[in-house]
């Protein structure tokens, strides 16, 4: 279930006056396309001339507000972040070849169910929109993606959507942008110098902070907490963890007794948690960034005959199936694979010359143990990320249901 950021519609209402103003500015500046790529590509910036700042900022805060409501959090303050509107008039263009747009998609590849769902959602939406997809799979590897982006850019697509596998691809993204291809970063982010027009993703800091605040609230602000992160050095893991540690640092009653990595593997998480059971018998809560990790944690505690401490993570069907009918308390959110739909929409808006946000922070459902029956899919595969916005027929076709 995907929820668009509310401001997108409001932003579109301002399309005409903005377009007029931008056209005037363009005539005055007589800028080249390449320079425009650089200016428009301050995907993370905004600088001193943050367009439509108030409305863009409101959209950013909306995701935080909704997450707070869904998790029942009394105090969830957005981290400092400047979101601006990007003038995309310079990218407005007719299809370069034929009548349909050709959108290049540098995907993660079907290395897991997230990658599979991510690209299937993209393809389905492209079919609905009638655009051609030029596809390349990185198989989860940044080095492979460097080559993929070069290959895709050489086909001169109308736009390029990249699911970034690491900072190492920044040079190729810059090169594509300098080649006059508008780039949208999808489900991940790069530095502000990447040249991307827009970054569309679920915000790591929101997830990390929300999980930590939920745990603090569950513990009444006091107790021992273990922090279980995914993979060392991977942005998805490290940004979430850093945000969580900031929250815990603000609560003197919370003691982070250990920080470990689960490699997003239930088996590793189970071994890590088996150690926690013996080493920290008085552990009060577990901050985790992953439902895969949670699965191992629950098994370890259950096999040890100990009550499972309240824990957090993202919503994977295997975990929900494992804890349904138990008294395990959890707070979950999601890093929805279907955000690729929003990525494609943003790319199409850029090609239409419509203003977009430099950072489109996806809103997606968050829930607790109290709503488990609403989200668990017993008839579906363990690998399904829930809730899924893909139709059941498509999920069955993918072997996920």
């Amino acid at each position: 279930m995907r929820t668009h950021i509310g401001v997108s519609g409001r932003a579109r209402q301002l399309r005409l006056p903005l377009a007029v103003g931008l056209a005037a500015a363009l005539v005055a500046a007589c800028g080249t396309e390449q320079e425009g790529a650089s200016a428009g590509g301050e995907g993370g910036g905004g600088g001193g001339d943050c367009a439509n700042a108030e409305e863009a900022q409101a959209s950013y805060e909306e995701a935080w507000t909704e997450t707070a409501e869904q998790l029942g959090l009394e105090d969830l303050q957005p981290t400092a972040e400047e979101v601006c509107e990007v003038d995309t008039a310079e990218w407005a263009a007719e299809p370069k070849q034929g009548d349909t747009y050709r959108i290049a998609f540098a995907a993660q590849g079907p290395t897991n169910s997230w990658g599979l769902t991510n690209e299937e959602a993209f393809r389905s939406h492209a079919e609905e929109l009638g655009v051609e997809v030029l596809y390349a799979s990185a198989n989860g590897d940044a080095t492979a993606q460097v080559d993929n982006i070069q290959q895709l850019a050489s086909q001169d697509p109308d736009a390029l959507v990249v699911v970034p596998m690491g900072e190492g691809i920044t040079g190729q993204v810059q090169a594509a942008a300098n080649q006059g291809i508008p780039v949208v970063l999808c489900a991940g982010r790069l530095g502000s110098d990447s040249g991307a027009v827009s970054t569309v993703t679920r915000q790591y800091e929101l997830l990390g902070t929300a999980y930590a605040e939920w745990l603090v609230q569950q513990l009444g602000g006091e107790g021992q907490v273990a922090v279980l992160s995914g993979l060392a050095g991977v942005p998805t893991a490290e940004f979430q963890k850093a945000a969580a540690l900031e929250v815990f640092a603000e609560h003197p009653g919370i003691e982070v007794v250990t920080e470990q990595y689960t490699e997003w593997s239930p088996t590793v998480a189970k071994q890590v948690a088996a150690n926690l059971v013996t080493q920290y018998p008085d552990l009060d809560g577990i901050w985790s960034d992953s439902g895969y990790g949670d699965l191992g944690v629950v098994q370890a505690y259950q096999e040890a005959g100990k009550p499972v401490p309240p824990l957090t993570g993202d919503a994977i069907n295997a975990f929900l199936k494992a804890v349904q009918g138990t008294d395990v308390r959890f707070g979950l959110s999601s890093f929805p694979p279907e955000q690729s739909v929003e990525c494609l929409d943003t790319a199409m808006s850029v090609l239409a010359g419509e203003p977009v946000l430099d950072k489109v922070y996806i809103n997606s459902p968050s829930f607790t143990h109290e709503q488990i029956d609403q989200y668990v899919r017993p008839e579906c595969s363990d690998n399904l990320f829930v809730p899924s916005s893909l139709p059941d027929e498509q999920l069955r076709g993918l072997g996920l249901c």
Binding site: T267, A274, T278, L295, A318, L398
Partner: protein, 345 residues
């Protein structure tokens, strides 16, 4: 494959047929290094992590010993004939996928699924063996190629999201306990005993050592070395299937991320124990010692709260130390000493 210049007899003392008290002394000394390492780690653990000596941690260590050990025995067989098997992790992954997809969680289909997994493992092992024996492809290259190939097959087949579930009937193999000891540790013990008997007490074992020490000379003496080498790769793959079943039973989930580390752990355990990388040297007892040392080391590092980087650094350092000890003459059957004795420079 080994293409050394030593005659078969020159390598014999490393194997079980070594004569006299000198061989016994060598055998004792070869076990001494990993056991000394184990003692040091246990001592450090006692000082740094008092909770290490609890039942819970012991259970965890025993499970690790079981999982790593089963693959390490297979790896040892391959190392003894001068090869190396880097496809173990892929076979483990393939096993869990076959079990999940074929059974879809139905225990009644588990028997057939296990047979399918064994067949798939045997095919992978056979391909490895044929590439090494018939095409003379270095084992490192051949098994890495099959690793990549099998991973590709898994991805193409499942599109990254294996459907189905692991049947609960497999759970006792991974999580069960007998006499308070995790079942995987018993499985490892059984596998190690069988391998130890075959290697130490049978003609097949003697031919295997001879093949690893000098394949050409052994072949000239009438031994079908190709079959022995290929058989070791098949045995390694079948033991990887067994490890895959243990892991599937342990977590009840197709965990694609885990199996990659087991390739290196199996090599590390054998090397730390003192099994030679050049073939023909080592015993299952050494592998067992290496497995125990590695499992204790990993558990201790986890208890310390060491990050993934620190764990890899320490594991790597221990392997380097083991190899250095092998080559510096600390262990009784170092390659340098053999070469010096055999006049090879």
């Amino acid at each position: 494959m080994t293409t050394g210049t030593r005659p078969v007899a020159a390598s014999a003392p490393a194997g079980p047929s070594a004569p006299g008290g000198r061989a016994l002394l060598r055998r004792a000394l070869s076990l001494l290094a990993p056991l000394a390492g184990l003692a040091v780690i246990l001592l450090l653990a006692a000082v740094t992590t008092p909770g290490f000596y609890s039942t819970g941690v012991l259970q965890l260590v025993l499970f690790q010993i079981g999982l790593i050990g089963v693959t390490a025995v297979g790896q040892t067989l391959v190392l003894l004939v001068g090869g190396i098997d880097l496809s173990i992790g892929a076979v483990i992954g393939l096993t869990t996928v076959i079990i999940a997809v074929y059974t879809r969680g139905d225990g009644a289909r588990l028997g057939v699924a296990i047979l399918l997994a064994l067949a798939a493992g045997a095919v992978v092992g056979l391909v490895n063996g044929l590439l090494v024996v018939r095409r003379l492809v270095p084992a490192f290259v051949a098994t890495f190629a099959t690793f990549v190939l099998v991973q590709g097959v898994i991805t193409a087949w499942t599109r990254g999201a294996p459907s189905g579930n692991i049947p609960g009937a497999l759970s006792p193999l991974g999580t069960g306990r007998w006499l308070g000891v995790p079942v995987p540790a018993w499985v490892f013990l059984a596998v190690a005993v069988v391998a130890g008997i075959v290697l130490g007490r049978t003609g097949l074992g003697r031919r295997l050592y001879a093949t690893g020490a000098n394949a050409r000379a052994t072949a000239l003496s009438g031994v079908r070395t190709g079959w022995i080498i290929a058989g070791c790769f098949v045995a390694s793959a079948l033991l990887a299937v067994l490890a895959g079943l243990i892991n599937a039973g342990y977590i009840g989930y197709v965990d694609a991320r885990l199996s990659r580390s087991l390739d290196l752990n199996s090599v590390a355990a054998a090397v730390i124990g003192g099994v030679g990388l050049t073939g023909g040297r080592g015993r299952i007892g050494q592998t067992v010692a290496g497995v125990v040392l590695l499992a204790v080391l990993l558990a201790w590092l986890r208890q310390l709260g060491a990050g993934a980087g620190a764990q890899l650094i320490v594991s790597g350092a221990v392997i380097l130390l083991a190899v250095w000890l092998q080559n510096s003459g600390w262990t009784p059957r170092s390659p340098r000493r053999n070469k010096q004795r055999d006049g090879v420079r």
